[in-house]
């Protein structure tokens, strides 16, 4: 049993980064995730583990520092919120193209533009469909609790190094700002392992290591793209993660929701049972990419309809529709632009959509 603390999601991210043996954090303040760097600074990570902490001049500076430090094969992490993540997208594409491991946290707020500092889930497209230029994928984790904010930092680094791929932890202002109990894993010493591909100085007879995403020859670049696509297919085979809630027995409806919306939906399931005797199951994707297609398809076969609940105008619903095809009715419900839907909002939305109330 690890140490139990009461903490904000943002603080849990930071504490987990120190415990996982992260070598460097580079970031730039933005609401609602500034507690990540503030917590790190207060903890003196340079004394606790020797971790480097640096406030960059911008999100662009921060992500490029990540690029440089990740090239050395180190465990590196940054965090930001939606507009800041948009600024990082160019370099995230480079990192994916150059196949560097790193963990990027997005505590999503409402957009578009400067939008609002209130919670949102409208960065699904940005996280899952690419975000930057070119054909690439991020492994996207969607924590729904402060506990998972910590757990996903550890999981994120494991996956990032397993696939040499950036991992995005897509959280939101609710999970970032709320406090819950969190049980931390025991600290892991910083790794001394040398990655064979890292740019550490060309030792002896070893061939030089070059970190680049450039292939001027389109045919070579196509080969590189083939290789990346194979890697993404392997992620789809091996790394799908999800939670099923109330999915045993005969279901009337299925809700698909992640992060904060999944938590809200659990309350809705209670309302539905108490008020209408309806049995609603919840499928919570824990990985947004790879998306839990098989499981959703399986559950879709025995329900009247599926409701996608997301604090957006309807982004994840596109993947659900692609998964289940035209035979199953799929609808979206979500408050957006920074408004957090409460359980009653969602329950009323459900009744309006499916029960014509």
């Amino acid at each position: 049993m690890g140490e139990i603390k009461l903490m904000k999601g943002n603080e849990a991210i930071a504490e987990a980064a120190i415990r996982v043996g992260c070598d460097a954090y580079f970031g730039y303040p933005i609401t609602p995730q500034s507690e990540v760097m503030e917590y790190l600074a207060a903890e003196k990570p340079e004394e606790r583990t020797g971790m480097v902490l640096l406030q960059a001049e911008s999100e662009i500076g921060a992500i490029n520092m990540i690029f440089g430090a990740a090239s050395a094969g180190k465990k590196v992490m940054t965090s930001s919120s939606s507009p800041g993540i948009s600024l990082m997208q160019e370099c995230i594409s480079y990192i994916a193209g150059a196949e560097l491991p790193c963990v990027i946290v997005n505590v999503v707020r409402g957009g578009p533009g400067l939008g609002t500092i209130q919670p949102s889930q409208a960065d699904y497209f940005q996280s899952v469909k690419g975000g930057g230029h070119g054909d690439y994928r991020l492994l996207v984790l969607a924590p729904d609790s402060v506990q998972e904010m910590s757990d996903h930092v550890k999981l994120g680094f494991d996956l990032a190094f397993k696939y040499r791929n950036p991992v995005m932890i897509q959280s939101d202002g609710v999970i970032g700002q709320m406090m819950e109990k969190v049980e931390f894993f025991d600290p892991i010493p910083r790794s001394t392992e040398i990655q064979p591909w890292a740019t550490l100085g060309r030792k002896g007879m070893r061939k030089k290591n070059v970190i680049t995403s450039l292939d001027l020859d389109p045919y070579q670049n196509e080969m590189h793209n083939h290789f990346l696509q194979e890697k993404y297919r392997k992620m789809e085979m091996d790394e799908v993660r999800f939670e099923e809630y109330n999915c045993e027995g005969k279901l009337d409806y299925l809700i698909v929701a992640y992060g904060c919306s999944a938590r809200v939906s659990k309350k809705v399931i209670e309302y539905a049972k108490n008020e209408k005797g309806l049995n609603i199951g919840l499928l919570r994707p824990i990985t947004l990419f790879p998306f839990p297609k098989l499981q959703i398809e399986k559950l879709s076969k025995n329900v009247k309809a599926i409701l996608s609940v997301e604090m957006s105008a309807g982004q994840m619903i596109e993947d659900i529709k692609l998964t289940v095809g035209k035979g199953v009715r799929v609808e979206h419900y979500g408050r957006y632009g920074g408004v957090v839907h409460n359980p009653e909002d969602v329950w009323n939305g459900f009744k309006e959509i499916f029960l014509n109330e």
Partner: protein, 182 residues
């Protein structure tokens, strides 16, 4: 047992820290807890509220619109949250600055004159402890010693010298809270 609570007032009244002490007290009692603040641009004197849930079961939604209890510390919050108390629920308020008092007949209403009492005690900082004392007295599900341990956990070491003053506030709140009949 699940307690779904909102504390609402001005920034600077100790709304968030009160919620934090309650969350810690819940942990001391082996309960599940969540603490969800309404956050906004940094501004002194703006409105502040926090949703706290204490439960012996896994907590589903940290975001709520109906509450078992509302602790209300200014008029804006009264206007917004009186109607959000579940029928049969509890409303606790400080009457300082309240012009439109609560009117619902289907809930229990308590008043704690925390601002005045804190001034009488010459300890304005004890304000939120007086309110908290009123709450734990009325709801009764948190053991006093767990609240004290929760208080200790939520305060940084350098502020532990204020614990006796805080305890005095808690006890005063327990003594002076009174039910209002509509």
């Amino acid at each position: 047992m699940t307690e779904e609570l909102i504390i609402a007032g001005f920034g600077g009244q100790g709304v968030l820290s009160m919620g934090k002490i309650l969350a810690y007290s819940g942990i001391m009692q082996d309960q599940e807890v969540s603490w969800m603040p309404a956050y906004g641009p940094e501004m002194r004197g703006g409105t502040a509220n926090v949703t706290v849930i204490v439960s012996d079961q896994e907590i589903s939604s940290p975001v709520l619109n109906r509450f078992d209890t509302a602790i209300i510390l200014n008029q804006q919050s009264m206007d917004k949250f009186e109607s959000a108390v579940k029928p049969g629920g509890t409303l606790i308020y400080d009457n300082n600055g309240i012009l439109n008092h609560p009117t619902r007949k289907d809930i229990k209403i308590y008043c704690v004159e925390a601002t005045d009492e804190a001034n009488r005690m010459k300890s304005p900082r004890s304000f939120n402890m007086i309110v908290l004392g009123a709450y734990i007295k009325i709801k009764g599900f948190l053991k006093y010693e767990n609240v004290i341990s929760g208080l200790k956990k939520s305060l940084p070491e350098r502020h532990h010298h204020t614990i006796p003053e805080n305890e005095a506030g808690l006890k005063r709140g327990m003594d002076i809270v009174k039910e209002i009949s509509i």
